[in-house]
C-alpha cells in the first residue's frame, strides 16, 4: 500500500494536516510537544560534542553552554590510546562487506522470492520471516562454537562479517519492491527472449533503485553499530571496529586518562558522526512509507 504514496512523507503532509482546521490550539499544542520531544532527542548529541571539546569536564547546567575554552585535546588523547583511523577503517571494512553481501545475494534472493516460481519458495519465505523474530544474540553460543572453534575464524574480518553477511530485512524489502512492479513488464521482456538475469539487471533493478538505497541504509545500521559479536571474536585490537575499541576504552583504560570523559565523548563523536551524517544526507530514503512496506508482512 505504501507505493500509492509519494516517497517523501513531507509531500503527503498537506492532506494529513486537514484535521486541525479551526483547532489552532491543538495544532500548537502538538507542535510544542513535538519540539520538546526533538529537544530531548537531540540534546544528548549536542552534549556529546560539547563534552568532547571541554578541557575540563564541567557537568553544571552552565557547562553545557560554554562561551570559550574549547579544545580538540580530547581527540588527540583518545587517538593516542586507540588507533582511531584504524578502528574506523575496520568498521568500514566490516560494514562494506555486509552491504556487498546483502546487495549482491539479497537482490538475487529478493527477485527469486518475488518473481520466480520454484520449489521451496514458500519454505524460504517462511524461514526468512522466522529469522527476523529469533534474534541473532540468542544463538551466540552455537555461532561462536562454529565460527571460532570449528572454522578458526577468530580475529578475521570474515569471522566478523559472516553472521550478518545477508541482511534478512533487506531481502524482505527487495522482495516487496520487486513484487510491486507490474507483471506485464516481466512477461514482455521474457517474450523478447531476455534471460532472467538480464531482466533483473536492466528492467527490474533500474525501477527499484531508490529502494536499494533504503535497503543499504537499513543494512548499514547493524554492522556499523554492532558491539557484541566483534567483541567476542576479536582479541587483536588491530582488527577491532570502533564500537569495540571505544567500549574497551570505556571499561578498561578510561581511569588512566587525564580527562576520561572528554576522551570517551571524543571517541563517541567519531563513532556517531558517519552514521548521523549518512542518515541526514539521505533522509529522503529513510521515511515511513519507504520502510512501511518493508516491515509489514
Amino acid at each position: 500500500m505504501a507505493i500509492a504514496e509519494t516517497p517523501t512523507t513531507s509531500t503527503a503532509a498537506p492532506e494529513a494536516a486537514k484535521p486541525p482546521s479551526g483547532k489552532k490550539a491543538t495544532h500548537w499544542l502538538s507542535l510544542l510537544v513535538l519540539f520538546l520531544g526533538a529537544l530531548i532527542f537531540l540534546f544528548p548529541f549536542y552534549y556529546m560534542i560539547v563534552g568532547s571539546l571541554q578541557a575540563e569536564p564541567d557537568t553544571s547546567l552552565r557547562g553545557a553552554f560554554p562561551t570559550g575554552g574549547l579544545t580538540l585535546d580530547n581527540y588527540s588523547q583518545i587517538n593516542e590510546r586507540v588507533d582511531l583511523l584504524r578502528s574506523l577503517a575496520n568498521s568500514g571494512i566490516i560494514t562494506g562487506g555486509v552491504i556487498l553481501g546483502t546487495v549482491v545475494f539479497g537482490i538475487l534472493a529478493g527477485y527469486a522470492l518475488a518473481r520466480l516460481h520454484f520449489r521451496g519458495r514458500g519454505t524460504l519465505f517462511a524461514v526468512m520471516l522466522l529469522v527476523q523474530i529469533v534474534p541473532f544474540q540468542l544463538l551466540i553460543i552455537p555461532i561462536y562454537v562454529m565460527i571460532v572453534r570449528t572454522y578458526g575464524l577468530a580475529d578475521s574480518y570474515l569471522g566478523m562479517i559472516l553472521p550478518f553477511a545477508i541482511n534478512s530485512t533487506a531481502v524482505f524489502l527487495f522482495r516487496q519492491f520487486f513484487l510491486q512492479l507490474p507483471e506485464e513488464l516481466f512477461s514482455a521482456a521474457r517474450l523478447d527472449g531476455a534471460g532472467e538475469l538480464r531482466i533483473l539487471w536492466s528492467v527490474a533493478l533500474p525501477l527499484v533503485k531508490p529502494a536499494v538505497l533504503t535497503a543499504i541504509l537499513l543494512t548499514f545500521i547493524g554492522p556499523w553499530n554492532e558491539f557484541l559479536w566483534p567483541f567476542l571474536v576479536t582479541k587483536e585490537s588491530d582488527l577491532q571496529p570502533l564500537a569495540v575499541t571505544l567500549a574497551n576504552y570505556i571499561s578498561n583504560v578510561a581511569g588512566r586518562a587525564a580527562n576520561p570523559y572528554g576522551a570517551i565523548l571524543a571517541g563517541a563523536v567519531v563513532l556517531a558522526a558517519p552514521a548521523v551524517a549518512l542518515f541526514v544526507a539521505f533522509q529522503k530514503h529513510f521515511t515511513a512509507s519507504e520502510l512501511g512496506s518493508g516491515v509489514k508482512g
Partner: protein, 308 residues
C-alpha cells in the same frame, strides 16, 4: 502467504517431469541458493546446534581433539533454572519490558500522531527522532554515563532531590535507567512504523468523529488507536525482541550488570557463563529458553492480531 500454496499445488501435479518438479522457473533456486545456504549456516544449523549443546556436557576443547561429550538430558536446564543469577537476569528483563514496552507504545504513537498533523518542520522533526536509532549504543552510552554519573548534569540539576546512591549504581534505579535509555534509542524507528500505519487510517473516520463533536483526545482514542492496532502488535513484538537481546547497555552503562547483578540480562549471563566461565552448555540452554519464550510471545501476539 499465498505463494506457499501455489508452490505446493504446482509440485505434485507436475512431478512427472524432473524439471517441473523444481517449479516452473527452476532458475529461482539458483538465484536464491546463496541466501538459502546462508540461512542454513547461520540460523538453522546454529539453532539445532544450540539444542544439541544444551542437552550434552559440552565444553571447549583444543581444536581437533577427540573428546567425549555425554548426553545429560535436562541437566543443563535444571542447572539454569535453579541458578539465582539466571533467574535474576530474567526478572530484570521482565522489569525492563514492563517499563519499556508501554512507554514505547504510548510515546511513539502520540509523537507519530502529532507528527502526522504537522506540515512545516516535519523533516527536521522526523530526522531528530530517528537519529538515536541509527547511532551506536556504545556512543550513546558514553553520553548517558556522563549525564547520569554521580556528579553528572542530571544530579547537578536535581540537587538534593537526586537519588542516593546515584542512578547507575543504585540497585532500584539501574534497570529503569536502562529501560528508559533503550526506549529513547529505539523510539524513532517505532515512530516511523506508526507513521506508516497512520497513512492507512481513513480520513473520513476523523471527519465523522469531528462532526460528532469529538475532541482531539476522543478521536485519538476512538479512531487512531484502533486504526493502528496491527502496528501496535508489531511494535510490541519488536520491542520485546529488543528486550530479549539486551547486552551492550548492562555491559557498559551499569558496568557489567551492576550494582550486584541488579541490571544483568540473559544475554549478558550467557556471555559470562558461555565464554568467560567456559560452560557453553549452560549458556546454550539459556539461549534455547529465550528462543522459545520469544516464539511464544510472537505467536500469542499474532493470534491476537488475527482475531480482529
Amino acid at each position: 502467504m499465498s505463494e506457499t500454496t501455489t508452490a505446493e499445488k504446482a509440485g505434485p501435479a507436475a512431478s512427472r517431469r524432473p524439471a517441473a518438479r523444481l517449479g516452473s522457473q527452476p532458475l529461482g533456486i539458483l538465484f536464491a541458493a546463496p541466501y538459502a545456504v546462508f540461512l542454513a549456516a547461520v540460523f538453522a544449523y546454529p539453532l539445532g546446534l544450540a539444542v544439541w549443546i544444551s542437552f550434552h556436557d559440552y565444553f571447549f576443547a583444543a581444536p581437533g581433539a577427540q573428546v567425549d561429550r555425554p548426553f545429560v538430558g535436562f541437566e543443563n536446564y535444571t542447572a539454569v533454572l535453579s541458578d539465582p543469577e539466571v533467574r535474576k537476569s530474567f526478572l530484570n528483563v521482565f522489569e525492563f519490558l514492563v517499563i519499556n514496552v508501554p512507554l514505547t507504545v504510548v510515546l511513539s504513537l502520540v509523537l507519530a500522531a502529532a507528527l502526522n498533523t504537522v506540515v512545516r518542520a516535519r523533516t527536521f522533526l522526523r530526522v531528530s527522532y530517528y537519529i538515536p536509532y541509527v547511532t551506536a549504543s556504545v556512543a550513546l552510552v558514553a553520553v548517558w554515563l556522563f549525564l547520569f554519573k554521580e556528579d553528572g548534569m542530571v544530579n547537578q540539576i536535581m540537587g538534593s532531590f537526586g537519588p542516593n546512591p546515584s542512578w547507575l549504581v543504585n540497585s532500584t534505579l539501574a534497570m529503569p535507567v536502562i529501560a528508559v535509555f533503550v526506549t529513547w534509542k529505539q523510539l524513532g524507528f517505532f515512530i516511523l512504523l506508526y507513521l506508516a500505519a497512520l497513512q492507512n487510517v481513513q480520513k473520513e473516520l476523523y471527519e465523522a468523529a469531528s462532526i460528532d463533536g469529538a475532541g482531539w483526545f476522543r478521536s485519538f482514542r476512538n479512531v487512531t488507536v484502533p486504526g493502528v492496532r496491527p502496528a501496535t502488535t508489531l511494535v510490541v513484538i519488536l520491542a520485546t525482541i529488543t528486550g530479549a537481546n539486551l547486552f551492550t547497555e548492562p555491559y557498559l552503562l551499569t558496568n557489567g550488570g551492576g550494582p550486584n547483578g541488579a541490571s544483568t540480562s540473559p544475554v549478558f549471563v550467557m556471555y559470562q557463563k558461555g565464554i568467560e566461565q567456559g560452560t557453553p552448555d549452560v549458556a546454550a540452554a539459556i539461549g534455547v529458553i529465550l528462543v522459545v519464550i520469544v516464539l511464544i510471545i510472537a505467536l500469542i501476539s499474532r493470534r491476537i492480531l488475527e482475531d480482529d
